[in-house]
């Protein structure tokens, strides 16, 4: 099934607020094998000048995927997720994500185009606090491999 080009330019509603917990950050850090204490020890994080434990940079994908996941799972888009691999990922951070942040993700599908037999989808996701502070912008390119 072809990917529906009519989704280009569509901005999806912001996700439900996601509360960043110390436990989730520690779980994520453990999963990537990162033993840095600023991801699990509040005192160590504060000694380094952070208000609380911070998240590893790529933790932003957890929240941005909560937004883009809903968009990509939209049956109208027609994406075959088993054929999808990650093409490119870029983050711009205003500040580190900190335990206690309550963030929403709002995704815009910026482009869908054919590259050879593949289809490339690009999206831009803004992670903001519920008070409207932009914390991170995530630009993703996903590739649906041609059969």
């Amino acid at each position: 099934m072809a990917v529906n080009r009519e989704f280009v330019g569509r901005t999806f509603p912001p996700t439900e607020p996601y509360e960043v917990s110390r436990v989730k950050i520690a779980e994520f850090a453990a999963a990537i094998g990162d033993t840095n204490p600023i991801y699990r020890d509040r005192a160590a994080a504060q000694a380094a000048g952070h208000p609380d434990v911070i998240a590893p940079p790529t933790f932003a994908i957890v929240i941005s995927m909560a937004g883009s996941g809903a968009a990509l799972a939209d049956p109208g888009l027609g994406l075959n997720y088993a054929m999808v691999v990650h093409g490119e990922q870029r983050f711009t951070y205003t500040r580190p994500i900190v335990a206690g942040d309550v963030l929403t993700a709002q995704v815009t599908l910026t482009d869908i185009r054919d590259v050879g037999r593949n289809v490339m989808l690009t999206s831009s996701t803004q992670l903001s606090t519920i008070d409207g502070e932009l914390v991170c912008t995530a630009l993703s390119t996903l590739v649906e491999r041609g059969a």
């Binding site: 999963a31 094998g33 033993t35 088993a82 990650h86």
Partner: protein
């Protein structure tokens, strides 16, 4: 983890020595759970092969996370990553054995920017193949 790097102390061109990070099927299962990305190609070789992959492959974001860890370990706890981007140029194939695969990350200080920021160019390889290209992080240092 290294000591704190300072903006003053950083020199353009400095090579950051290679670090090897292991990745096993267990790593991927843990990453599935922690990230919420349960795409079957990251844990089920039957489906991975059925869709034309050589075997189960690591999440691109797992590889990116190793590159991120390389940068933050170098930069020290007071550094803040302000930009981080990669292109996934090849797959990290993770066999179902006790050894798994490895991702070798190295870097070079590329540029000193304004506002105490430093750009680091990154290289990541697995099985002698570049798995990341255009990989670059910008960190703000004390």
């Amino acid at each position: 983890m290294s000591d704190q790097v300072t903006y003053e102390g950083v020199e353009v061109g400095t090579e950051l020595p290679v670090v090897s990070y292991p990745v096993t099927r267990l790593s991927l299962v843990k990453y599935c759970g922690a990230s919420g990305d349960f795409n079957v190609i990251h844990w089920n070789d039957r489906v991975a092969r059925a869709v034309g992959l050589p075997d189960v492959i690591a999440h691109g974001m797992f590889t990116m996370a190793q590159a991120g860890r390389f940068v933050t370990d170098w930069a020290g706890p007071k550094a803040a990553v302000t930009e981080f981007g990669v292109r996934f140029s090849s797959m990290v194939v993770v066999p179902d054995d006790d050894k798994g695969a490895s991702i070798e990350v190295s870097g070079q200080v590329e540029e000193k920017l304004d506002d105490n920021q430093v750009a680091v160019a990154l290289t990541a390889k697995s099985a002698d193949t570049k798995v990341l290209t255009r990989a670059r992080a910008v960190v703000r240092l004390p």
